[in-house]
Each structure stands twice: as C-alpha cells, then as structure tokens.
Subunit: 329 residues, 2 copies
C-alpha cells in the first residue's frame, strides 16, 4: 500500500500511554466492523495485561517461545491450542456464550482436541470400540426437542478413549479410527451402540500445555466421559459429553467441562434388555435422552443475552449477524 | 496428582459468570507469586475479551487455527510470534515498560524477529554488509554514559537488510551471516564500521501475520533503519535502531518503532574523513552517539514507574525481584 494512502494520523514516539490508541486506530481502517471491534478489544486487553503486570522482556520472550512450541507440537491429530484454551477455561466460556441453553435442553461441554472427521458411520447396535481390554457397555439414547418430540436424522459424532485412557489418534501405530463413530437418529429419535466404559485420563501433558499445568501445580486429569456432538440443519449444534458419576476427578476436571446435568449412572442389563440388544445379562447400560434446541430459539436467546450483558458492561452496541459491534449512531 | 490433594474448592457447573474466578483459583495453587499474578491477569483479560465480544465458536476456532499457523511457520530463523507481537504494539509496549529511559539517554526501539546469535565479531573499520548493490556508508559511533563519559568494552550487535530489503536469514540459499556483526567499543567508547544505506522494507508478509495485516488493510512496511543492541554488565540492555529521516513510512511503521530522537541524517565524507576512514570522498556518513544507562538507575526508574502506575490503577502491590505481585498483607 502506498504510504500516502494510509488513512491514519502520523504515528511516532509511541509510549506506554499512547500505544494502545494508536494501534487501535491503525487497525480500524477496514470496513469489517466486527473485525475492527474484536481487534479493538483484543489489543486493549493485551496491552492492559502488559501494563497491569509490568510484563518484563524476559517474561514476554518466554511467553512467545511457549506459543511457538504450542503451534509446533500441533498436527492433524493434535491441536495444542485447543488444549491451551481448554485449560484456561476459554473453551467452556465460548461454548456457554455461543450456545445458551433454555432450561429443558441438554447442556454443552468442551469439544476438546480429539474430535476427528474420519470416523465411520455405523448403524444402530454396532460396536464403536474394539479394545478387548475395555469393559463393554451398551449405550441407549434418544434425541428430542424441548417439547418431547423425537428428532429424526440427526448426525451424531461419538468418541471416547480406549481402556488405557488414550484416543485412537494418540497411538502412533494406529491402523484407522477406533473408539469413535458417526450415527444417525432413527424415526423415533433413537440411536444405540456398543462401547466400552469410559475411564478417567490425563489430557496430553507431554507438551507445552502439560509443562504449564505442572508449573501451576495443576493435575492434567479429566473425569471419565464419552463425547457427543449433534448436528442437524435447523437445530443448534450441540457439543457435549456424559460424565460417569463419582469419578475421582468429578470436581477438578482439568478443562472445566463437568455439569451436574451431564453426570450419568450405569444400570445393569436384565434378561429382557440383554436379549433385545444382544448383550450379556448383567453388563453395564448407559441410558440418556438428549434434548436439542431449535436454531432460531438459540439465536434469540444468544441475542438477548448479548444485549443484556453488553448493557450491563455499559457498552453501546448493535448486533450484526448476531454478533455485537459498536453502535456509533 | 492425587485428586484428594487438589487444594481448591469443588468445581462444577461453570458458567459465563463464574468460570473466571474458578480458573484463577485452580491456577493459584503454586508458590510462585509472580506466576500466580500474571496468570490471574491473563485469564481475567482473556475471559473479559470473550465476554465483551461475545466471541463465537467460529471466531474462536479461526483464532486458534491462526495461532497454530503462527507457530508452525516459525523456525530457527523466523519468529512469527515476535512479528505478531510487533504489529499488535505489544513489543514496543513491553520494551517501554522494561527499559524506561532517563531524559539524556538513547531511547529503545523494537527488536524485531531478525536478530541472530551467529554474527561474526569484527574490528573497527570492517565491512559488515557485502551486498554489491548496496550504497556504501560509513558509520561512526560512540557510547557514553548520561554524564558524557565513554564506555569501553560494550558488546554491540548490529544488523540491517541487504539492498533488496531482506535480512540474510530470509534468503534460502545463504552461505552464512551477512549484514550483521558484533563489535566492541574501544577505550574512547568508539566503534565504527562500513555498511550499506538502509532501505525501507516490508516485514515478512507471506505468512499468517501478513494475512492479518491484509485483513486489517494495513501495509507491512518499515521505514529504513539499522538495528543496534548494546550489552555490558552493569548497564541496562539497550535494544534500539536508527531511522533514516524522511522515509515514506516514517509515520506509519508497521511495528510502531520510530522515535524522533532515533531519526538520523547522513552527512557526506569530506577529504579528511575519506582519508582517515578509508572511504571515497563524497560517500555517505552516519554519525551517532549512543547513551547507555546504569542498570541500577534503570531499575530504580522501573520500580518507581511500576509502583506509580499500579497505584493509579488502584492495585495494591509490592515488588518481588522488581516485578509487581499483589500485596496481601
């Protein structure tokens, strides 16, 4: 760009006190109001963080080198920045903001870094984990709307670790996807499958995020859970998980995902269940009914919450594509 | 860590309103008061940023993928996170906080991502750029303290681009360091060398930082400059640069580095200068006197500024190793 076309006041002699305003001005030349607003808040918080901590050059360089390592350990099957966001509580927060839930619906939980796009689609009744060391369990689910009507044709992603607490992608010698599948709910909104009983496991802590947890004297454990993701046009995208009651890490999940409404109990297959679903009598059964929310309802709730929160913060905003930007009229 | 040893209240059902407090609590188990404080401010600002923008899942994921790319394009000779910090004004800010300058001293400027540790040490008078297309210039410098006394034995790192605006490390076929050197000031505090006239250049914009600048309608240019870094035990580490007057990008530097006191003019070598320094008569000469600050003086100034700033922010702090931590007495 020709410097003559730079549409900002001349900048020079920037100091602790004027660098923020100047950075915001130079970042505000585009026409994307949302980007301008997000950058304005980002730069302001980043600078305030440095000012309030009197961040030293040594700390700054250590942080930048840490971030390089977070990027460099990431791969197609490992997203260390999601992990970092998870342990800082940001993932839970963003999900809560973006997917508000009306009272009758299933709450969300963290996505985590282990969802992939290569799981096989299986029919009702199939086995999704082939780990012979896992304790078998039968999972019987339904999907309904907030009024109790079944929802057909929802695409469901399900993923869990093996009995050693590792997802398939964490094994360097893996042959293909395992412990994960895609299903579709039937006419009654039902989907059911055979899996293994989830176990608690530490999030990957052999990388920079693990080093940070150690520095902070935090453990890396997550309570035993099974991930679910629900997708159907017209319905709010639901990322959640079911947690097994009384896990030792139930109240200290390293990534803040546990919600009371998502804690489940196993029952035991009686003769009728065993015969109907083709499992051994006495084996574990997990039953859960999920409730999805109409996309429009979520949108309305999100808009309402946003406007209410911004008013409370004293910010004059309007919504553009359901996201706040400053209202400069 | 045994979950029984987790020394924090039980966490569950975390929401937009309580996630920050809970994250701060779980991050505060260690005995490093400075780390606890830095993390408290980091998490608070990160969460406030998400709350004030109502950050969407799509934006969050785009940001995390952007950060992965910033890490992955980084290498031994390219530090894209420093570049990101530079264009967000953070680098300038941290330098200003960490290296406050009393009135008589040389101001600091941004380090940038192109300093390396492999430059050769050269004696006074040597050539530090071998680019035949560069316009030769003679650089005559001295280093003094704020009272005007010469400082001997200062290690000086100097680096500049070639005539095409690229540092040596940006050429994939480079044979070794060029356009960079290390020198030591002599008894009179003098160091002098032969270089080429700096040219304006765009910061590397073929990566994620360049994409961000483009989205923000910002140009990637830096005004012509030569980098200097000064190091001697007992003296405040000085990272700075000299900027050539009337550069087209003088007031819109992509990384906010320019200060009036660092803008310099060339003179022309007369017969005496030409003979004394072994250059052609009429060739360009850059003269500059640098002023370093006693480390103790910088420390006192930094402490004073920190306490003053924190008081203004209404934060009750004490200094631990010259860095603020909450004063909880």
């Amino acid at each position: 760009m020709d410097p003559a076309h730079v549409n900002v006041p001349a900048m020079m002699d920037l100091t602790i006190d004027n660098i923020t305003d100047n950075t915001v001005i130079i970042n505000s030349q585009g026409s994307d109001q949302r980007l301008t607003y997000v950058m304005e808040r980002l730069v302001t918080h980043l600078h305030d963080f440095a000012r309030e901590t009197r961040l030293s050059t040594t700390e700054w360089m250590a942080a930048l080198n840490f971030l390089v390592r977070v990027g460099q350990i990431s791969s197609d099957v490992r997203h260390e920045f999601i992990l970092l966001s998870d342990i800082l509580g940001l993932s839970l927060l963003v999900d809560a903001i973006d997917h508000p839930k009306p009272p009758a619906s299933t709450e969300g939980s963290v996505l985590g870094p282990f969802h992939t796009h290569e799981a096989e689609t299986i029919p009702n009744g199939d086995l999704m984990s082939h780990d012979p060391e896992g304790e078998p369990c039968l999972v019987l689910c339904s999907i309904k709307d907030v009024s109790g009507n079944p929802i057909e044709g929802v695409k469901i992603d399900i993923w869990e670790t093996d009995s050693t607490g590792h997802y398939d992608v964490q094994h360097s010698n893996r042959q293909g996807p395992d412990g994960r599948c895609v299903m579709n709910s039937d006419k009654e909104g039902v989907f059911w499958f055979k899996a293994i009983v989830p176990v608690p496991y530490p999030i990957p802590h052999d990388g920079p995020v693990g080093q940070l947890l150690k520095l902070l004297k935090r453990h890396p454990w997550r309570p035993a859970h099974m991930h679910f993701m629900f997708e159907k046009k017209g319905w709010d995208h639901l990322i959640t998980a079911l947690y097994i009651r009384n896990d030792p890490y139930e109240t200290s999940d390293a990534v803040f995902g546990v919600k009371k409404s998502l804690i489940v109990d196993f029952s035991t297959a009686d003769a009728a269940i065993a015969q109907k679903y083709g499992v051994k009598e006495g084996s574990k059964v997990l039953k859960h009914d999920f409730v999805l929310v109409d996309e429009k309802q979520t949108e309305r709730l999100r808009d309402e919450n946003a406007l209410k929160a911004m008013k409370k913060l004293g910010r004059k905003v309007k919504l553009l594509n359901h996201l706040p930007v400053p209202d400069v009229d």
